[in-house]
Amino acid sequence: MSTVSEKLMSLVEDFSELSINDRLNLLLEFSDGLPELPLHLADHPDLLERVEECQSPVYLFVEIDENRFGRLYFSAPREAPTTRGFASILHELLDNQPVDEILAIDEDFINRLGLAEAISPLRLRGMRAMLHRAKRQLQEKSIAVRS
């Protein structure tokens, strides 16, 4: 299994090699592919944290399993496909990865995807906010697990 940083590098390559229009199409593929929430969360929306920085209602939840692997779950409506695309990218990269690796990722990768040209820098703020909140939740939970 490849490490988070290897997955990151290959994703950055995938996006940056494409034309601007195809970057949007790849983001759409991610958006279409965002997995549904697992049952134990779908029944408990109160457990989810809203990403306030996104104008559309997007929610996230993280868990740490017994092997200190992070699980990341996102929920965003079909009417907000860009937000779903961001969530799906983060899910694909970070779900089921060692907590320490997730916490160590360089957030700057978001700038290297080449999406700023395709969708404008302002719209990337939502993705940064999602990653930031996911990392903060992981950090809080990992302290709780240790103590």
Binding site: N25, L27, L28, E52, Q55, S56, T82, L122, A129
Partner: protein
């Protein structure tokens, strides 16, 4: 060649019924010669998930704004953009979008800065079209490029700059943001940067009329009588007022600008596109906090 204007009893009371089309009208006119349909959304991918047949996408961020200067397109760039969408100066353009047509109104406002004569909004926008079960497609339309003339942008009739707003304090000003943004309460969580403006509150003497007061739940505009109640009785505007509207970056206030100018027919309505992201960070301008408009002297 312009496409015929919709005769719809539901629009008859509006000052400019020709500025709107209904979903029924659009469904029966798709493919008409001279008609170009544009979708303009907050979400840059929404068009790709499915759009009205023949509609072209226009993006407010990547296409209508200049990427270097905080401003709209230059005249040359606008002519190129419209030509690339197959729009001529005499095309009838119908714009629709998500979020109750915020961005569609914004695009329409930019078209008006360049004096495009026949541009109409789809009443209810994308939401209503889809709610009615009308067809959408992922198929991209074939676009025949057109020649669009280079016309000078008019930054005075429908647009207000900050100095004009400063001079307008005490005159009719409408803040269309949420009550929390207006009063200056912050709701963001600790440890998160507020990336907007450096000060929270509103422009002194501006009345708070959130944009949604002009819209029904199905994203259509309220009737003229209902709009008069909101803006005349509620906010104290008069039918001959010179009004400036603003929000955070000028999109929600384009929606209100449209309602005041085309539905109520006020003689002069300007949108302050710098809005709170500019005013709330400007050095030396007064602001007011709290739920009251505040006075001219408030600073």
């Amino acid at each position: 060649m312009p496409v015929e204007i919709e005769t719809n009893p539901a629009f008859a009371d509006y000052a400019h019924p020709e500025a709107l089309v209904s979903t029924e009208w659009l469904a029966s006119h798709l493919g008409d010669a001279g008609l170009v349909v544009l979708e303009c959304d907050e979400d840059v991918l929404l068009y790709q998930t499915g759009h009205i047949a023949t509609a072209r996408k226009i993006d407010w961020h990547t296409e209508l704004n200049d990427s270097v200067t905080r401003d709209y397109l230059t005249s040359t760039a606008f002519a190129q953009l419209l030509g690339s969408k197959g729009i001529s100066r005499d095309s009838t353009v119908v714009i629709y979008g998500d979020k109750s047509n915020w961005w569609a109104s914004y695009a329409l406002w930019v078209f008006k800065l360049f004096g495009h004569e026949d541009v109409r909004l789809l009443n209810g926008g994308r939401e209503k079209w889809i709610a009615e079960g009308r067809e959408i497609t992922r198929e991209l339309p074939e676009v025949q490029t057109a020649e669009y003339p280079v016309v000078e942008r008019d930054d005075h009739t429908d647009r207000a700059y900050r100095d004009e707003v400063l001079a307008h304090i005490g005159l009719p000003l409408i803040d269309v943001r949420s009550p929390e943004e207006y009063s200056g309460e912050r709701t963001h969580m600790p440890n998160y940067p507020d990336e907007g403006a450096l000060r929270a509150g509103h422009i002194p003497t501006a009345k708070s009329v959130p944009w949604a007061k002009a819209a029904n739940d199905d994203a259509t505009f309220k009737t003229r009588a209902e709009l008069e109640k909101v803006y005349f009785e509620g906010a104290g505007l008069k039918s001959d007022d010179d009004v400036i509207s603003y929000c955070r970056i000028g999109e929600r206030s384009s929606h209100t600008w449209f309602a005041l100018k085309y539905l109520l027919g006020l003689p002069r309505v300007r949108n302050y596109d710098g809005s709170w992201t500019e005013w709330g960070s400007l050095v030396g301008v007064p602001i007011s906090k709290g739920s009251e408009p505040g006075s001219v002297l408030t600073s």
